[in-house]
């Protein structure tokens, strides 16, 4: 079942339709409601390996629906602490709960100040309106 459109206030957003939840020097990241809606029901998450370092703005994996494939871009830089196995096993989790059960990675931030450069919810909503 698809989730209703929402963009939580407490998250940081990347213009490539990724979100990050910052807690201390860790970030949980995923794709926004807009991204999952554009793709349709996800059927595959091509995930990176834990321990790998990702770099802000660069591609770390792919999400695929029946009809389309899309790169996923890291909103922050750092080492991957955990890949959400629940999404690897059941990618449709992202459609059902993009900001909760449908998270993709946990990352240890290489620069705790880096997320400050991301969009806040108002800026991201403005970006969506301007599309």
């Amino acid at each position: 079942m698809a989730a209703a459109e929402s963009y939580p206030d407490e998250l940081k957003y990347h213009p490539e339709h990724d979100w990050a939840r910052i807690e201390g020097d860790e970030a949980t990241v995923g794709i926004t409601w807009f991204a999952q809606d554009a793709l349709g029901e996800l059927v595959h998450f091509e995930a990176p390996e834990p321990g790998v370092t990702v770099t802000k703005d660069s591609v770390y994996g792919e999400v695929e629906s029946v009809k389309a494939v899309s790169d996923v871009v890291a909103p922050v830089s750092g080492e991957i602490l955990e890949v959400n196995q629940a999404v690897v096993d059941a990618p449709e989790t992202v459609n059902a709960d993009p900001y909760g059960e449908g998270w993709l990675l946990r990352i240890r931030l290489s620069d705790p100040a880096e997320p400050d450069a991301l969009l806040d919810v108002e800026a991201y909503k403005q970006l969506l309106q301007d599309l």
Binding site: E41, H44, E46, V66, V69
Partner: protein, 352 residues
């Protein structure tokens, strides 16, 4: 920019919240609620597709049969009035201009339902080759066409049971339709043809009877699970019936355009064959991906019924036997697949 054509059901699709995409010059619904739910509806119950974008060509006259026998690969003489046949329009080298279904109305009247993207080319090709006593007429804009597919489709429509590959006039809630027992999903069902002005009423009636509106997304996953080729992907002017596993649609004992080339190919054996495969790893093959040792994926998707990546592709003939191991380049990653017998998915109740 090219203007997209719209079917008579366009307003219905918009009202239903369909996601519309350009397809073969048409603005068509790719999905309503979701591809997977629509796919399952067709496999378990009943779905309805607007396929009014497809072309309808009439071939008429005392020499219509002669014309079609010379142009189409299958043997029309196997048909009686009320029968239908899957067949190919081929060029001199055996290349596939289109795949289509021919319906015999009477000995002097045939209906050809052709792919939307090939409508003009098919019509041009046939018109140029018309013979005295035959007339080819593009009537595509005169008709609406709805594919109603799934194990409960006939029951939901209140139609009598009928044999696959037949057609008859019928009626759905007061709307007169041509009931064609054909489809593109591997399930029981029919395709209902009506005058374009009746299409909205027919759609409403079919939906009211419980058919789930389905888009082109599910149409593609459904046909791919049962390995029906898609023209433009799996079969083209550059491919031929023998390599594509469609020799059964070619009456090589009659003369039709390209028959000599196809006879030679059959005798020599094709270098490459179109095979069905299933991914052995989590990955979704897509059209255009390279298969190692000289092959290419022509169609690929995620199979909702198998929950795996599946596809069709051309591989060297010595790799085409079921069980053969393939390696597919999925955006730079080597992923294992195995050739499987067609169809990839077998519907539980075979169409009768």
């Amino acid at each position: 920019m090219q203007t997209l054509s719209r079917t008579p059901l366009h307003e219905r699709h918009v009202a239903a919240g369909a996601r519309l995409v350009p397809f073969a010059g048409w603005e068509m619904p790719v999905q309503y609620e979701g591809v997977i739910a629509e796919h399952r509806a067709v496999r378990t119950d009943c779905g309805v597709f607007d396929v009014s974008h497809m072309g309808e060509i009439h071939a008429e006259g005392p020499k219509a049969r002669e014309l079609l026998q010379a142009l189409l690969s299958n043997d029309l003489d196997r048909l009686d009035d009320g029968d239908a046949q899957y067949t190919l329009l081929t060029d001199e080298s055996g290349g596939i201009i289109d795949d289509l279904i021919a319906y015999r109305i009477d000995p002097h009247q045939y209906l050809l339902v052709v792919n939307a993207g090939n409508r003009q080319e098919v019509w041009d090709w046939m018109k140029e080759r018309e013979i005295r006593g035959s007339e080819v007429r593009d009537a595509s804009d005169e008709y609406g066409l709805l594919a109603v597919q799934g194990p409960r489709s006939i029951e939901r429509l209140g139609l009598p049971e009928g044999k696959q590959f037949t057609h008859a006039m019928g009626e759905i809630d007061g709307i007169e339709v041509m009931v064609n027992r054909t489809g593109y999903t591997g399930e029981q069902g029919c395709e209902l043809m009506c005058p374009a002005e009746d299409a909205v009423a027919l759609w409403d009636a079919v939906v009211a009877r419980g058919a789930v509106p389905c888009g082109l997304g599910a149409r593609d996953t459904l046909r791919l699970e049962v390995c029906y080729p898609l023209h433009g992907n799996d079969i083209t002017r550059e491919t031929d019936a023998i390599s594509a596993g469609l020799a059964w649609t070619c009456a090589l004992d009659k003369d039709f355009t390209g028959a000599p080339a196809l006879r030679r190919l059959k005798e020599d054996g094709p270098a490459r064959k179109l095979v069905a495969f299933v991914m052995e790893e989590k990955a979704i093959p897509r059209a255009g991906m390279t298969i190692e040792s000289g092959g290419e994926v022509t169609s690929g998707t995620h199979s909702p019924m198998l929950d795996k990546g599946i596809g069709l592709g051309y591989v060297p003939a010595d790799r085409s036997m079921p069980g053969s191991a393939l390696v597919i380049d999925v955006r730079g990653k080597k992923r294992r697949a195995t050739v499987v017998p067609k169809p990839i998915y077998k519907p539980e109740e075979e169409p009768t």
